[in-house]
């Protein structure tokens, strides 16, 4: 009977295959996590070349990261939401309402310094409302957040009676325009970017190193299985929308500190699209359950580099639209192609 020999033979081969497979899978995970990094680098190099060396200058890089900061923060919150298979269209409006609330508070002499927590809190409250409607009444996230996209925009305009609220001496203004000096005279980092990176780091920690993080992935991967496994799906959902709202509030505070002003109508219009684009460019799946926060960071940087670079090389406004659209499609196509080569078909 041939069994024993075959078994012995089979035993070593799978062990080898297993080791190989682990290594390959790690590479794949890495490629996925790194995501669009090659595309980002390609874009940067291209712009540097085309702008006659203006791209890779300390000042311009500072501007790029600063510009990506608010979107990064929004996109981090959006990553949580999309990981559960949901979507949050209301972040732009919440950002506007939070900035308005913050600026209004900042004008009271006594409350001044409280404006920042007030803005963040405002965002969190709207987020919890979204989450509550979605988790407890089981309404579709798209409709709920589309409703609040509209309603909260109205609230933002009402807050300032439809005018611009302005405060040139807003406390903590440094976070909007100042930089953190790491090596005096050599390396400074805009505070906005410091905040954004901190948000990404904390998000990563929550998603990858806590029980809650695994539960978020689980809810996105298979909601009914999660429910059967005893996960409090409603709590997870409220949490992710609360985070998204809170981070939109933080984004509002960052925007307010940057502009010293806020306007209920003119702030945060269609920011949700940029945030979602960053998340999807970063490789997070729309169905939920798959994705990483680092990808989101790269996605947000791609968007900022694209805006900055096209102006830098003097492309006209109309053509900027066309090129931006094509680059976004091209980036995912390239990514798909790259993944195909390395991994699954």
């Amino acid at each position: 009977m041939p069994e024993n020999g075959a078994a012995a033979k089979a035993a070593t081969a799978p062990a080898l295959a297993a080791a190989q497979e682990t290594r390959r899978q790690r590479t794949r995970t890495f490629i996925r996590a790194v995501g669009m990094l090659p595309v980002l680098l390609l874009l940067c190099l291209g712009f540097h070349f085309l702008s006659e060396g203006r791209f890779f200058t300390g000042q311009n890089l500072g501007i790029v990261v600063q510009q990506s900061a608010v979107n990064t923060v929004l996109a981090a919150g959006m990553t949580f939401v999309i990981l559960t298979g949901g979507i949050d269209l209301s972040v732009g409006s919440i950002l506007a309402a939070s900035a308005m609330a913050g600026l209004i508070i900042s004008q009271f002499p006594d409350l001044g310094p409280l404006w920042l927590p007030a803005a963040v809190l405002t965002g969190a409250v709207f987020g919890v409302l979204n989450g509550g409607l979605i988790a407890l009444l089981r309404l579709p996230p798209f409709i709920v957040t589309l409703g609040s996209l509209t309603a909260v925009r109205g609230v933002a305009r009402l807050l300032g009676a439809d005018t611009t609220v302005f405060n040139p001496s807003i406390p903590y203004a440094f976070i909007g325009n100042g930089s953190l000096t790491l090596i005096p005279g050599l390396l400074t980092i805009p505070w906005l970017w410091v905040i954004a990176v901190l948000v990404i780091l904390v998000s990563w920690l929550v998603l990858k190193r806590t029980v809650l993080g695994v539960h978020i992935y689980a809810v996105g991967g298979n909601e009914s299985a999660a429910r059967l496994a005893g996960i409090k799906v409603w709590a997870v959902l409220i949490f992710v929308y609360a985070v998204s709202g809170l981070l939109a509030g933080l984004g509002g505070a960052m925007q307010a500190a940057r502009l010293y002003a806020a306007n209920g109508l003119q702030l945060g219009q269609s920011y949700e699209l940029d945030a979602i684009t960053a998340v999807i460019l970063g490789g997070t799946s729309f169905v939920g359950g798959i994705g990483s926060i680092w990808g989101t960071l790269v996605g947000a940087l791609i968007i900022a580099v694209l805006s900055n670079g096209l102006i830098l090389i003097g492309v006209s406004d109309v053509w900027q639209y066309v090129i931006k659209g094509l680059v976004i499609i091209g980036a995912v196509a390239l990514d798909r192609y790259r993944l195909q080569g390395s991994a699954r078909t």
Partner: protein, 511 residues
């Protein structure tokens, strides 16, 4: 013997690095039922998917039908070559009706418009032959697993093929439906069809198989003709060793400590959901394994869902250790000490995109966590590794995603999650569905050990030999009610006939 209708030669298939099949040969003759056997992950489904056109084989492989070399491109190619298949993983569109699913891809239309009535009318007789109790216009989403399986079978039968592949068609069927299917299969054989039959249920293979081909780790071990088909031979070929005592039942609630015997751990009292389940009571004692038997759609799964709070109770209550408890969600059931293994592992059990490690640890993450929420990654890794070796899960690594495993291995991963909880009460809904013989006996011995250590186990199963082999008591359901109860005594075992009589409500059984 006549000319073979199908010859597969040197068929290989790799999924990037994994070599799922290596130079496998398979010869099938018209008018025979050819059983394809092998452990979980041996490559049976992969081989069949190559034949049906779902996968493309590696270069060098050769397929001959009626002696001619064919290249099967895509599912349409498979169909054109006269091949019909029942996939192991149900592949129905839940949002369409039964008739639409059966006709999917081959719809009938008249002057450009869909002939829905004609399609439904044509489907009726086939469903009837299978003994299905639902109308052709029913939405598949509203069917139970078993009923869906019947739809799959009906679809394959309806395709009128030369070669019919059935990849574990009876996993969701209970004895009655299975018997009816076997009658049909024999009829088809008589009509000259070649049938390739995959199953992990040995009795089916003896009953049906004309020849057997056995695979192991993607390679061909050998083929047996009818006279050579014997349980121990096949099992040894599949597993590479002898699997001695198959059903294991060493625990004995009547003999173990008296104190424990009286401890009634779970009691369901008059549970009803206002629909399918119409007032069911049952009890499970510590250290006891209770079987819950019944026909497909009898409401066993629904009853289990009521107990664990996954469905809304309309009346009745649950008692644990004599005290009434309110359980509104599966989470509360876990807190109360009840763990439940779902029958629908893909839709309700596993997280296919998550690693096996996370899948196994999911239910105990909170318990293991440090500082109230930080993952303990070492503990998780150790637990997953232990589970892999304890249940013999075949996968490259604990970090591969659960979606890439073969069906049986997925089942083991899911079972590992429940075992990690160490519950007081374990409800297992079709625990060995799609699991190979070797692993089955492992699962039986796990159930036995749990009972020995005092766990109350409720096993829902459509596999009657299994129920008879491992249970102390059987509760039988019929159309949403408890039809009766059979207790095993030292003197008399309950028999398959007794259970069927209760399940169908037919008292006198003509042999």
């Amino acid at each position: 013997m006549s000319e073979p209708i199908l010859e597969m030669r040197r068929v290989s298939k790799s999924f990037f690095s994994i070599k799922a099949l290596r130079d496998v040969d398979l010869t099938v003759y018209p008018g025979e039922i050819h059983a394809l056997m092998g452990e979980n992950g041996a490559g049976k489904s992969t081989l069949m998917k190559i034949l049906s056109g779902a996968y493309r084989p590696d270069p060098g492989s050769e397929i001959r039908i009626d002696g001619e070399v064919v290249h099967i491109h895509g599912p349409l190619g498979g169909r054109a070559a006269g091949i019909a298949i029942i996939y192991q993983e149900l592949s129905l569109a839940p949002n369409l009706s039964v008739a639409e699913n059966i006709y999917l891809g081959r719809e009938v239309s008249r002057s450009g418009l869909l002939a829905r009535d004609a399609m439904q009318a044509a489907v009726g007789p086939i469903l009837e032959r299978l003994g299905a109790d639902f109308a052709p216009s029913t939405l598949v989403a509203s069917l139970s697993m078993g009923q869906r399986q019947l739809v799959e079978i009906a679809r394959a039968l309806h395709a009128r093929s030369k070669i019919l592949i059935m990849d574990e068609p009876t996993t969701a069927l209970s004895a009655g439906e299975s018997e009816r299917l076997f009658v049909l299969i024999r009829q088809l054989r008589a009509e000259g069809l070649a049938i390739i039959y995959i199953s992990h249920r040995m009795d089916e293979v003896y009953a049906l198989g004309d020849r057997v081909t056995v695979l192991r780790d993607g390679t061909l071990v050998g083929a047996l003709d009818k006279p050579q088909i014997r349980a121990d031979t096949i099992v040894r070929m599949m597993v590479g060793r002898d699997v001695s005592s198959f059903y294991k039942k060493e625990h004995d609630p009547t003999k173990d400590s008296m104190a424990r015997q009286s401890a009634q751990v779970l009691a369901a009292v008059d549970l009803a959901d206002g629909g399918r389940v119409k007032g069911c009571s049952l009890t499970v004692h510590a250290g006891e394994v209770v079987g819950l038997a019944g026909l497909v759609g009898a409401g066993r799964t629904e009853l289990a869902h009521l107990i664990i709070g996954a469905a809304q109770l309309v009346s009745g209550h649950v008692e644990i250790e004599g005290k009434p408890v309110t359980i509104r969600t599966p989470g509360e059931a876990l807190d109360a000490g009840i763990a439940y293994l779902t029958e629908d592992r893909k839709a309700l059990g596993l997280f296919l995109d998550m690693s096996c490690k996370d899948n196994i640890n999911l239910a105990v993450l909170g318990r293991d966590a440090k500082f109230g929420g930080i993952l303990d990654r070492d503990k998780a890794r150790d637990r997953a590794k232990k589970a892999f070796s304890a249940l013999g899960i075949r996968a490259a690594d604990i970090n591969v995603t659960a979606g890439g495993l073969s069906g049986g291995n997925q089942q083991k991963v899911l079972l590992s999650r429940l075992l990690a909880i160490t519950p007081k009460i374990l409800i297992l809904d079709e625990p060995t569905r799609g699991v190979d013989v070797g692993a089955k006996s492992e699962i039986y011995s796990i159930i036995d050990n749990l009972a020995k250590s005092g766990t109350a186990v409720l096993v829902i199963s459509s596999d009657l030999p299994e129920i008879i082999g491992i249970c102390d008591r059987v509760v039988v359901m019929r159309e949403g009610r408890i039809a009766g109860e059979l207790t095993r005594t030292a003197a008399a075992h309950f028999s398959q006939e007794e259970i069927m009589a209760l399940a169908t409500g037919v008292e006198h059984v003509d042999a």
